[in-house]
Subunit: 695 residues, 2 copies
């Protein structure tokens, strides 16, 4: 607790320093809402809670305007968790805990008492039946309330999503379909093939298309780089900043006007590209893929949902991603290639799991010094030193796990990218699911089921014993779990709010090179690694709800702090790089259902271990009902997150006349491109797309 | 073998008797291609093989014209199985059997020898390695060949399906979509709501619609009955037959002209219906469901594939079934109702499985007389009589199992019907999948894994031991399996070809009532019960391929006879009641893949039991590769069987002008209906549809 307060104080002081403004409010800086230089006063050195108020105040509407629906969904996870765990904490502490209270005030004892609550041996039958009913009703009540809240939340977000879609201005991606696996016929050019196909099968809806081509890497890179630089320079207000020393690290050499310099470079490259285009079109490599645009959003939806070709592996369609969201590096136009890369990613993920299990097993062996000594006898003397042995047993395991855990998100993201998705949002959604599996598996199962790698794998192949094994293992690990909540929660929030790595980098740049980092980028929130972490706490809270309700207040505190910190970060620090329109919610929903069912399985296991078959059988309807509820939700709400209905698309079709312009300004991207009209509307799509989009 | 020949002879004699022609060639009678009365000659009493030639001769094209694509698919199952098992038999008998041959000529010994082929104890290492390689290569070769053939077959049938769709005349169901769960708004009539919705969201494609209403049961039934009678009477040529005695069983009373009689009845009822329609329309109960027709097949496909409403449980669309294929009794318009009935059916199926398991357990206990005596002491004396004990242990179990197994298909079909499908073809396809599970589970697992009910259920919950348990259990049951092939195969073909029940009924009618059964119905082939039986033999053949190759010739004989008999039945006896366009093939494909994987699992188990871990590990890639192959086929071919592509639909759109008429003659069904133009094109749809289709 003291450390948490300390962090908050440190953060409030650090963020007041004007030199750190790019670290703590890069978004405000980019939007011109932050003072870059303030007067120095003693006030800036005193911790204050003003930022908490500022993070608390904005309504959901503000959050929506600022971060899109994904930001709202992210904050709804906290709201939902707070609601659930407030009730759970009340039930746990005022009902479950007293029934199991035997004596002693210390947390340590309480936790132990709770896990032995249902020990029949030293209770009278009547007492026991009462307690049984308490736990029973608690399990049923919390499941009922959670299902109700999950339903309400799913409904709310689905409605928000539809409203968001109805309210959004027409955007190019709503009218465009990405077509891959176009079969090539000798004699016909790719562009002609595409045009002939869509003119034939979608005569009334088809508008135009852009075939994808590869460009020379050098040109593309330099073009993008120069363009970004130019945009940034133009956006900063004072022209004095746009002059810099040329030469080593900008420290020596004559001053030059950066804007003019970059403009000239850009023009040169554009000229070059145009020459390449006109002269050596035949040298360009065409991809058998194209962006096909339709006259209406409804037309695009129709073309998307119907299978195009007789052969389902040809003319494969999907929604075109947002222009800013495109990700080319692993773009593949072959169905087989995508299928094989998915298989490879699956195998690689399994290997990663095994590797990680080995690391965890090694780390666990560290806590038993005797085993380590037996393995490496030469370490015997060193490990006898108290400090070293303390470090090795106490700090080293945690450190190694943290380091390795920090490596997992980028690897998982890479895996998802290799699966051939064409948009960052799709990659991150897939990575989010993978991370969820990893997080739950390692931070929950691998911690709870301490043992060898093989025994953990065997666990999966022996479904009968799962409830009883969990029932024995989970209560035994209450302490580790509590430690984890404190440890992970604290380090993770500290890392998140204070942004150490970024702060170091900023200070380093400031002190060593004496230059401000011009090209500071506004980070985007990595939903794929944050959401699983939060959901892990939902899982912990639910699984320990019956066994050790004393954990719940800690989890409540975690969510309260998280709510404030993340709102602050969403509003001040991160800028969304894409907008999935709340597509992360189904992942959250499914994971919560999994947590609920796990809670039920553990409950069955406990009653089984305590030799109470009646109680175990009476719990069984609960997971069945939960899964039925989930099935209903899948049927009722999931389609809203997967595809747009005729109603939604048509709603838009009526208003298209008023908003038609941005659509048209985007479609003939090649036209804009060749005439160098690199407006903000059209250029990013075009430049971000490595194998560009040329007609 | 002798019994088989006897059956064939009996069949050839029976089918030559002109009095049996309605039993053995009802289809030919209905199509007017059979002689109802021939001259009596001695030739008709001599068995001949002419019918075999006649069944063999027709090409696939003839079969297609006669039974549609489903008939072709059905006969392809035999062709495919014959190809696979010819190769398997060659490998098995000429390669696998000699390597395991120790001595003795009798089948009994051979079977035993084969199952102990891989017993390491009495073999030198070199000998053993050679044998291992033989089994290995055999497993890999047969898997490779099967996958190749499966791929070729899937491709062939998918192409046939597309060709069939392209060649078919425009049919009402291709233009029509069944819409359920129409939300009702107070004030608007259902018909207006439907029209408003589709005019708004599908303005260019929408043509018309028919709302479903309930009719009074009495009228409906009598109308359908009278109409059928009339159609049949009109179709029979000789007018003399259309006169009959009125009175008890047609034996007494004056002769009346049946056609005139029924025509009058029909007119009365129609008049009645028209009155009801015009006077008390408000009293009719409207279902919130409608058939919506579109201007083109493509328009219907587009409307089908896009989700209509924002709420995915409203305006649920599916293809309208063929008019002759509609099945109303369990028609439901509520999404929730369908969901709940699916759940109920699932629970009922599980209960049925448990019930059947209990029956099997009881039957197995019959073979151990001591147990039975211990259970029912009063039976002691009776069971001491040799004849009774022989009957009880030898014949009774088989009889009970046959009787119970005969009860399963209708129950399963009822379950599938209760799930809320609207077409008989959908119900039968669903029933086919269920029957497949039942057949495989009971005739394979429950026979192989003899034991108590709980031990069989435990088997499922202990996945680790599955291979080794199968490896031990399967070879031990070679005899039972062989017995089964003979027993089931023979009884089933005899039943199928000689059609005992039908023959008895016909003879009974002939002798007791002395009247010909006028209203004889041409049966339709029950694919849902036949296909699983045939696939069971594929399963048996594959699982015993490595263990007891001597079984393979028997299976080959089974498929040869089956091929001839079913072709004969398809051409002469059965008339298809629906045409799914080959949609049963994916079921066959999946089941074959399952059989292959089961073979691999058993192979792994055998090598595991014989303590040959290297061999067991080397087999593991085989099921993985097979499942990958299956996944590829799912992606490549399955969509062709699920939905029609833009190319296919548009192909048709071009030719619509020439074939437009039957479409229009169907669409305003209510119009036809009210004007009593009960043509063959429109009426059956209309009359078969219990809650009729009225505008």
């Amino acid at each position: 607790m003291r450390i948490t307060v300390l962090f908050f104080a440190l953060y409030s002081v650090l963020r007041k320093q004007s030199c750190n403004v790019k670290v703590y409010a890069p978004r405000l800086v980019a939007e011109g809402r932050a003072r870059l230089r303030g007067r120095f006063s003693i006030e800036t050195l005193l911790p204050s809670a003003g930022w908490v108020r500022r993070a608390w105040q904005p309504t959901e509407e503000d959050l929506y305007n600022s971060c899109g629906l994904d930001g709202v969904v992210f904050s709804r996870i906290f709201v939902f968790s707070l609601r659930v765990f407030s009730l759970a904490a009340i039930i746990g502490i005022f009902v479950l805990l007293p029934t199991g209270m035997v004596g002693g005030n210390e947390l340590h004892e309480k936790l132990h008492v709770c896990s032995h609550l249902l020990d029949v041996s030293n209770q009278t039958p009547m007492e026991f039946v009462g307690r049984l009913w308490c736990h029973f009703s608690a399990a049923y009540i919390i499941t009922g309330v959670m299902c109700y809240l999950l339903y309400a939340e799913y409904k709310y977000i689905a409605e928000k999503r539809i409203a968001y879609f109805n309210a959004s201005k027409p955007q190019p991606q709503h009218f465009t379909v990405l077509v891959r696996d176009i079969p090539l016929h000798a004699g016909n050019s790719l562009s002609d093939t595409v045009e002939a196909f869509f003119t034939e099968y979608h005569p009334s809806d088809y508008l135009s298309h852009s075939v994808l081509i590869t460009k020379r890497k050098l040109e593309k890179c330099s073009l993008v780089k120069v363009y970004r630089k130019l945009t940034h320079l133009k956006s900063t207000s004072s022209s004095s900043q746009n002059q810099n020393h040329s030469g080593f690290f900008g420290m020596f050499g004559k001053r030059v006007d950066l804007v003019r310099d970059y403009s000239k470079k850009l023009e040169d490259i554009e000229q070059n590209v145009r020459l390449v285009q006109s002269d050596s079109r035949r040298e360009l490599k065409f991809f058998p893929a194209a962006f096909v645009s339709f006259k209406s959003r409804y037309g695009a939806a129709k073309a998307l949902h119907i299978q195009q070709s007789v052969n389902p592996t040809e003319w494969v369609t999907e929604w075109a991603p947002e222009p800013r969201d495109v990700y080319w590096p692993f773009f593949s136009t072959s169905f087989m290639q995508r299928w094989i890369s998915k298989l490879i990613v699956f195998v690689a993920s399994v290997l990663l799991v095994i590797l990680f299990l080995l690391v965890v097993a090694f780390v666990q062996s560290l806590t038993y010094l005797e085993e380590l000594e037996a393995l490496f006898p030469f370490l015997g003397k060193i490990l006898k030193i108290t400090v070293i042995s303390q470090v090795v047993t106490g700090y080293l395991p945690s450190l190694i796990l943290h380091l390795v855990a920090a490596l997992v998100p980028p690897i998982v993201k890479l895996f998802s990218a290799m699966q051939g998705y064409v948009a960052v949002s799709q990659i991150e959604k897939s990575a989010c699911k993978k991370m969820l599996l990893f997080t739950i598996w390692f931070l929950f199962f691998a911690n709870v089921l301490t043992g060898s790698v093989t025994s953990e794998i065997e666990f999966l192949f022996d479904p009968k014993t799962i409830p009883s094994r969990l029932a024995v293992a989970v209560p035994a690990q209450v302490h580790i779990c509590l430690h984890q909540i404190n440890d992970i929660g604290r380090s993770f929030y500290a890392q998140e709010s204070i942004r150490f790595s970024r702060l170091h980098f900023s200070l380093l740049m400031w002190h060593c090179c004496r230059r401000k980092d011009d090209k500071f980028e506004i980070p985007s929130i990595p939903y794929y690694s944050e959401i699983p972490r939060i959901l892990l706490f939902v899982l912990l809270g639910l699984t320990y709800f019956l066994l050790a309700p004393m954990i719940l207040p800690f989890i409540l505190v975690f969510f309260c702090i998280g709510y404030i910190i993340y709102r602050n970060q969403l509003l001040d620090v991160y800028q969304p790089k894409y907008d999935t329109g709340g597509r992360f919610w189904p992942v959250v929903h499914n994971s919560t259902i999994f947590s609920l069912v796990l809670m039920h399985i553990i409950a069955v296991g406990i009653f089984g271990v305590k030799k109470l078959p009646v109680a175990a059988i009476l719990i069984v309807p609960l997971p069945v009902l939960t899964l039925l509820f989930n099935d209903y939700c899948r049927k009722r709400f999931l389609p809203v997150f997967r595809k747009f209905s005729a109603e939604v698309c048509s709603y838009f079709a009526r208003s298209i006349a008023f908003f038609y312009w941005p659509f048209f300004s985007w479609i003939p991207a090649s036209h804009c491109y060749s005439e160098c009209r690199l407006s903000w509307q059209t250029a990013p799509y075009h430049l971000a797309t490595a194998p560009g989009c040329l007609l």
